[in-house]
Symmetry: C2
Subunit: 184 residues, 2 copies
């Protein structure tokens, strides 16, 4: 299973691709789409859309994983982040990729083993788990961590959500698993 992890943002969108074979992980590619800030909003979203579609074409993942975003207290920032996230999700939809979403807590638990891990710990564990020569850049590390989370949690979640048909906890009114129980 090849997983594309995405860390969307209007200024910088990180991506990371890994191959997962059970618990064995292999690094494939990662990088950051740096969006020129002088562009208009539609142009910036187009940069995210085009580049992520290109990444999907180049790396041919089977599935995509995104972090469920932190809700900023500044509504204008939340709206901008939402638009960047919308562009990323559109690129994944155009690439016929199913999308799985995970909270920061789930990702940290899957990568470091505890939800209270610092950013540097996540970066270090991503480096170790994927046997990288150096510490990956922050945006790439977050995207790779999300992909690793799906590689570890996804197969279990797929078996559970097969019952409910849910793949995305955000925005879907469907059943989800809470404290081990299916909640409608």
């Amino acid at each position: 299973m090849r997983v594309l992890g995405i860390d969307p943002g209007l200024r910088r969108t990180g991506f990371g691709v890994i191959d997962a074979d059970g618990m064995r992980l292999r690094y494939v590619a990662s990088g950051t789409i740096v969006v020129p800030p002088a562009l208009t909003l539609p142009e910036r979203l187009k940069v995210i859309l085009d580049n992520l579609r290109q990444v999907a074409r180049d790396t041919q993942p089977d599935v995509a994983a995104l972090e469920i975003v932190f809700l900023n207290t500044n509504p204008a920032s939340t709206l901008l982040l939402g638009q960047a996230r919308g562009a990323a999700l559109c690129a994944l939809a155009d690439s016929q990729l199913a999308v799985h979403e995970y909270t920061a807590l789930q990702i940290k638990k899957a990568v470091v083993g505890t939800g209270r891990a610092a950013k540097e710990q996540v970066q270090m564990m991503v480096q170790r788990l994927l046997s990288l020569d150096g510490v990956p850049a922050p945006d790439s590390a977050d995207a790779l961590a999300c992909a690793i989370c799906h590689a570890h949690v996804g197969p279990l979640q797929a078996r559970l959500s097969g019952l409910a048909g849910a793949s995305s906890p955000l925005g879907s009114g469907r059943a989800r698993v809470r404290r081990g129980r299916l909640v409608i």
Copy 2:
């Protein structure tokens, strides 16, 4: 000049297309993309993306116009709206359409003559200005009002922003016109 106006939303996205020849306006098409709420978030965004691209292909507009959205006090709603708006902007970018954004105040002023107009007044004026047989549905009316606003304000704004190169006040750090002066 053919203008495509959009009123984006995750549940309902309105669109309206008009032809503008100076102050003369002609209705071309309008409608509402109703997004099935049972779909996952990525699937819902894909419905908006695909249908708006289809509208652009079918009606061949020269330019697009969007309302600058009201920032909801609920951050989760703002994020969802941002994602829907991101999908709409991606569809317009994919259709090679330049996007112009207007505030609700600008739209009401352009359509009704006052920024304090009620929703029903806007709908009625849209009906009158486009010589429609009946009052358009709310989402279509908002999208058509946005297109009418661009038809009236756009040519003037284009002459002014030609100086500054700005096309989108949101998300761009460029010059804009404030109280008749260019503000950098």
